[in-house]
């Protein structure tokens, strides 16, 4: 594959998954400023390694690979700063910017409690839920992004939802 063709394919990948990477980044780092940085860094790193990734993907979708890059960069971001974000998800801002008016009218408190619960989950469970529900990834994609087996991913998601349900119920009580 020549460079022009590679660049064209990368542009398609970028256009198809900008929203996915940004959504993942936003829910991972919790604010728009860092999410923008993380999204840019993810695509720059993806660009550097794109040819090899295409060769090794054997025709499989590259979204898990992109999300894995974002995951690694986010981990580095936290390590460099030696801290986790003080507010992993800016609840009020998130609800205002990511939800329709109808959603807000119908269940703002409930959605806020769920978002609040998500940030209390262990990292791997929170990430699995973000990939599943914000990005709509299936178990196989999540497994590839997280470097786990399909079976382990299914269990992880099940436990994440169960734990979150318990957290939310506790907050309600």
């Amino acid at each position: 594959m020549d460079k022009a063709q590679l660049d064209e394919e990368f542009s398609e990948l970028y256009r198809a998954h900008l929203r996915d990477v940004y959504s993942y980044a936003y829910y991972r780092v919790g604010n728009h400023h860092d999410a923008e940085d993380l999204t840019e860094q993810t695509f720059l790193q993806a660009y550097r390694h794109f040819e090899r990734a295409v060769g090794e993907s054997d025709g499989r979708p590259l979204r898990p690979w992109l999300i894995r890059i974002a995951h690694n960069l986010a981990a580095n971001l936290y390590r460099d700063r030696s801290r986790k974000p003080q507010t992993p998800i800016e609840d009020s801002d998130t609800l205002r910017t990511t939800h329709t008016t109808e959603d807000l009218v119908e269940g703002r408190d409930e959605l806020a409690r769920i978002l609040d619960g998500v940030k209390d989950l262990p990292d791997d469970r929170r990430e699995a839920l973000i990939m599943r529900f914000a990005l709509g990834m299936d178990n196989r994609e999540i497994a590839r992004a997280m470097g786990r087996t399909d079976g382990a991913t299914k269990v992880l998601l099940h436990r994440a939802i169960k734990q979150l349900e318990e957290i939310v119920a506790t907050k309600e009580g």
Binding site: A35, L115, F133
Partner: protein, 115 residues
């Protein structure tokens, strides 16, 4: 997922709604990627050894290598290091050795980019 979680999953999906990136991010990203592609190509194509005698000219081509071919750049360094002893024995003086090293870096970079 199990039926037990049916309703809760619906709420979870609404809570974790996809987030649209800011409008200017997409434009900025496309511009950055286009610039990097062009920069990496242009800088490497115009990398004349004569201009590399001035250290002030080293930054941009090195950045281009880093951006365009990070893995390739690592390979360049590895190969240049492997040839260190041979260049050292052939060099007449430190300046000659430095020039041979620069030429070796340029040759290896071109070889990798031409693959």
């Amino acid at each position: 997922m199990s039926e037990t979680f049916g309703d809760f999953e619906g709420l979870l999906k609404r809570a974790l709604a996809p987030v649209d990136p800011p409008e200017d991010l997409a434009a900025r990203m496309e511009s950055t990627l286009a610039e990097l592609t062009t920069l990496a190509q242009d800088e490497l194509e115009s990398w004349e050894l004569s201009t590399m005698r001035d250290p002030r000219n080293w930054v941009r081509p090195v950045a281009a290598v880093a951006v365009g071919t990070t893995a390739g750049a690592a390979l360049v360094l590895l190969r240049v290091r492997q040839q260190h002893r041979r260049r050292s024995s052939r060099a007449s003086d430190p300046l000659d050795f430095a020039e041979r090293t620069l030429r070796s870096v340029a040759d290896e970079t071109r070889r990798i980019l031409d693959r």
